[in-house]
Structure formats: C-alpha cells, structure tokens
C-alpha cells in the first residue's frame, strides 16, 4: 500500500515478567486532509462570530481550552474575540485526565498536564474549546472538572471537528466541521505553535500489522 505519511503511535502494553512495560508501535496512514491552515483559520473565525452573536456581555465571559491542542485553539479564538469586540479575554487551560472514566481499564496512566484558569468561573459564561468531539467522554470529564472550580452560569462547547460516534448524550454549540468516521480512524490536528504546521488529517490504522 502506498503511504502518504506514517504516524507512529506508542502503546504501553502492561508489564512483562521483569516488571518493565513493553512498548509496541502502531502505524497510522493518512486518509484525507480535512482542513489546511486556511480552512482551519476560517472555521475558527466562523466559530468566533457565532460566539459573539450568542454572548453579548463580555464582562462575565471566559474561554477554556482543553489540553493539549484545544489550548491553542482557545487562545486563537480569544485573540479573535479581542480583535473584533475590543475585549481583553485570556484563555484558560483545563486538563481533565483525573476525571476520565477509563482509569480502571487503561493499562498505563496518561500524564496529568497543567490546569490554569486565571479567572473565577462562578457566574461566568464559559466556552469550552476542544479539537475533536468523538465519544463525548472527554467532554463529560471536562464538565465535571470545570464544576470543581466553581459554578459557571453557562458552559458552551466549541469543537473544530465533530466526527460522530457519540457514546454519551453530548453535543457541541459551535462546530467547525462535521464528518462521519469509522472507529478504526483517528482525527489528528496539528497546530503551528507546537507542530510547526496547521492541518487536520483523517488517519487510519495500517492493515496487516
């Protein structure tokens, strides 16, 4: 099979007899370019306009991006809002790892990243930003995590891509692009802040492992 590019994913597979974990490699191949840097920026601009339409009072308004890539999307939306509405919004970051429901079945624990919400979320209208909406479990965890910081007036959800296959009754308020995907596929976002490019690819497991 001809590969456009290969993504290497590491999975920890429990432990061997010597007590050290084993790492295997899974190859992913690119299937389709969902967004390039221009369409990604347009999608964020459209989401920003929709946020501005729905939220009039920016004195009690906050944006929170979910670790890792959602953080950068949230910062970009915040700066677009600041440009359009002459506000001074700072985006917070949220890591929902500790609230996930797969702690018991995950073989190794994911790294807990920084949560930094530099404002009091009580009575605020909060827009939660993530890159991909899939099963809804991450959003469920994020809602619980956010509630432990206070009681926001509303929480709205903005995602760059909605790939379907929901397992929980959760929907997004602002969607960049909606697609249907298969469970063996992965949507992979790259942002120039850490990946040196803006792109979103649909990828899929390599056959014949």
């Amino acid at each position: 099979m001809k590969l456009l590019s290969i993504k290497i994913k590491r999975l920890h597979l429990g432990s061997c007899a010597n007590g050290f974990s084993k790492t295997i490699l899974i190859l992913m191949k690119k299937v389709e370019l969902l967004m390039d840097s221009k369409s990604l920026d347009l999608a964020l601009t459209r989401i920003t306009h929709q946020i501005l339409e729905r939220n009039r009072d920016f004195t009690r308004f906050g944006i929170v991006g979910m670790q890792t890539r959602g953080v950068f999307l949230a910062r970009r939306i915040a700066s677009k809002i600041n440009d359009m509405a002459q506000t001074g919004i700072v985006a917070g970051t949220l890591d929902a790892t500790l609230y996930r429901d797969d702690y018991r079945i995950a073989l190794k624990q994911p790294t807990v990243k920084i949560t930094d919400i530099p404002f009091d979320i009580n009575e605020m209208n909060i827009v939660l930003v993530d890159d991909v909406l899939y099963t809804g479990r991450t959003v469920r965890a994020a809602l619980d995590a956010l509630m432990d910081y206070g009681r926001p007036k509303t929480i709205q959800l903005a995602v760059l891509i909605d790939r379907g296959n929901r397992e929980l009754p959760i929907r997004a308020d602002y969607v960049g692009k909606k697609i249907t995907t298969l469970v063996n596929q992965v949507v992979s976002l790259k942002v120039h802040e850490i990946d040196n490019e803006d792109s979103m690819w649909l990828m899929e497991l390599e056959d014949g492992e």
Partner: protein
C-alpha cells in the same frame, strides 16, 4: 507515558524518567490541592490499606489525605488493635486483607525488605512508607519536589544531608534519587553514624561539617534519635549540637538563599535551633504540604489499570 516500575519499593534503580514523571505529576496535584474543592474522582472505588507496623504521624496522615483527595477508600490498620498480637504472620495478615478485595497496600515496617516480601504474597500494588534502615521513597520524592519547586531544577545542585546517616532511610532514599537526578550529594555526620560503604552510590562522605556546608544549595538535617544516645555512638547530645547542629551563627556561613530541610519530627535545639527551624530559609512545612501532592502522584501513577 506511564511509569516503568510496578511498585514503589525504593528509589534504588528507579530511572530518571520515572522520577521526573512522578515529580511532574506531583506539580499538577499541587494545583488540585490549592483549589476550593481539592478532591478529584480518579481513584473512586479503589481500596488502599495503610499497613503501619511502626508509629508515624506525618507519613500516615499524609498518605491517608492523599488517598482521600483521590477519592479512594483508605483502610487503616494499626498493629496495636490487630491479630499481630495473637501471633499472626505477615503473610497471613496480608493474604487475609487481600481476600477482602483491596487494590493497594501502603506499608511501613521496622524490618528492611518487608515491602518487597509483600509483592511476593499479594497481587496488590505495594508502596513503601519506610522499611527498617532501607528506604523511605516518598519522603525523598517530596524532598526533591520541594527543591525543584524552588530552584526550578535538580541537576547540579549541592545538597548536604547531615546527622544520623546510619539509621536514616530518608538519607538512603535521597542518596539514590538525588544522584540519579544529577545532584551532588554530601552525607555528613559523626564517624560512628556514617557508613563508609555509601560512597559506592556516588555521594561524598565526610565528618567535617564545614566541608559539607561549603557551597551547599540545600541543607537537610536528620533527626537524632535520642534513644540511641545511650548506645554510645556519640559522647553527648551537647557535643553533637555544637559540632553538627545548625544555629543562627552557622547560618552566617551559608549562602543567603540556602534551603533548610528536615523530614521531621525536629528536635529543636539539637539538629537545629528554633530560630533556624522557623526562619525564612526553612521549608519544613512546605515539605509536609508537598508530601500530600507527591503521594497522590505516586498512587495515581501506580494504581490504575488492570493487573496483568
């Protein structure tokens, strides 16, 4: 990515990556502890037995609090009210407790090697909370966390650990962990309390306090176990205080931003004078706060997932 170790028995042989992961995770848990609601639901439904065969205030409370902050169910086992007094063996005790479906055991025992022994008779994850003269890994981790939070790094810093090195599992765990992290460790104390074999760890050993303190970024004082004084390892408490105790006059020879640590409990007026213990350089209470975060990190990283 996850830890390579399955149990936390000691810091000997634990890789720099694992130590760094625990310290990074502990920094995240420190943020959780500062919130209005300092509890996360991560270990909900996990049962953790605190098996303490030796007296402890700080460590037991710190572990119990860490377990509660993670929403685990702690089960406290104290020797005085147990069947140990009826002669039940350690293996029988642990297998009986395990039969009640537990996930992790935090153990403190007067004999070195007990945590390792427990890994052989149970499937539960074992965390060493101090075993004999062997190791006390979570204390060393919280010490390193406290140092790293102030200096922003560990590598290249000089730490002087002063006191009863021979009987100190804290010193041993710190010697392993800190040398792995690239720190310069100097162990200092009266020659009778200074095992020479420790230089095989790559640490410096001296009975000369001035040499130990010279250029030190961190000074860690260990508790002199007063009950050992009668065994003649040093002539008198007073002589120990004069030669190895840190008071405000000796502070003048140290760099102004030196960090003063003590694993507690402090014998005020022996290892350090009260004005040093309560002074601006002392981080003794910060160590206690960080202890909860570091223990949460260790329990979180070791506790998840199915046993394989």
């Amino acid at each position: 990515m996850g830890l390579h170790i399955q149990h936390l028995l000691g810091l000997e042989g634990v890789s720099k990556e694992d130590l760094t992961l625990i310290l990074d995770t502990a920094d995240s848990f420190y943020q959780v502890l500062e919130r209005d609601i300092p509890v996360v639901p991560t270990l909900r439904g996990k049962t953790i037995v605190n098996l303490f065969y030796e007296n402890s205030t700080r460590t037991r409370i710190s572990f119990e609090l860490a377990e509660k902050r993670l929403s685990a169910s702690p089960l406290n086992f104290s020797v005085s009210t147990s069947s140990i007094n009826k002669g039940e063996s350690l293996r029988d005790t642990i297998q009986n407790i395990e039969a009640m479906k537990i996930d992790m055991v935090v153990v403190r025992h007067g004999s070195a090697g007990v945590p390792y022994f427990l890994t052989k008779c149970t499937d539960a994850v074992i965390v060493n909370a101090g075993d004999g003269l062997h190791e006390h890994p979570t204390q060393a981790l919280l010490d390193m966390m406290t140092i790293r939070r102030k200096f922003g790094k560990l590598e290249g810093l000089k730490v002087a650990i002063i006191g009863d090195i021979f009987h100190s599992r804290v010193a041993r765990s710190n010697a392993w962990g800190m040398t792995t992290m690239g720190m310069n460790v100097v162990l200092c104390g009266p020659p009778t309390l200074l095992p020479q074999h420790l230089d095989s760890l790559g640490v410096t050993i001296t009975d000369n306090l001035d040499e130990a303190l010279d250029g030190a970024d961190v000074v860690m004082l260990l508790r002199i176990q007063l009950e050992r004084q009668s065994s003649g390892v040093f002539p008198s408490i007073r002589e120990y205080r004069d030669r190895y105790g840190i008071d405000i006059e000796k502070m003048a020879y140290l760099r102004p931003d030196v960090m003063i640590m003590h694993p507690g409990p402090v014998n005020r007026g022996i290892e350090m004078s009260s004005d040093v213990a309560d002074g601006p350089n002392s981080v003794i209470l910060k160590q206690v706060t960080n202890g909860v975060a570091v223990r949460m990190a260790a329990l979180y990283l070791l506790g998840g997932g199915e046993s394989v």
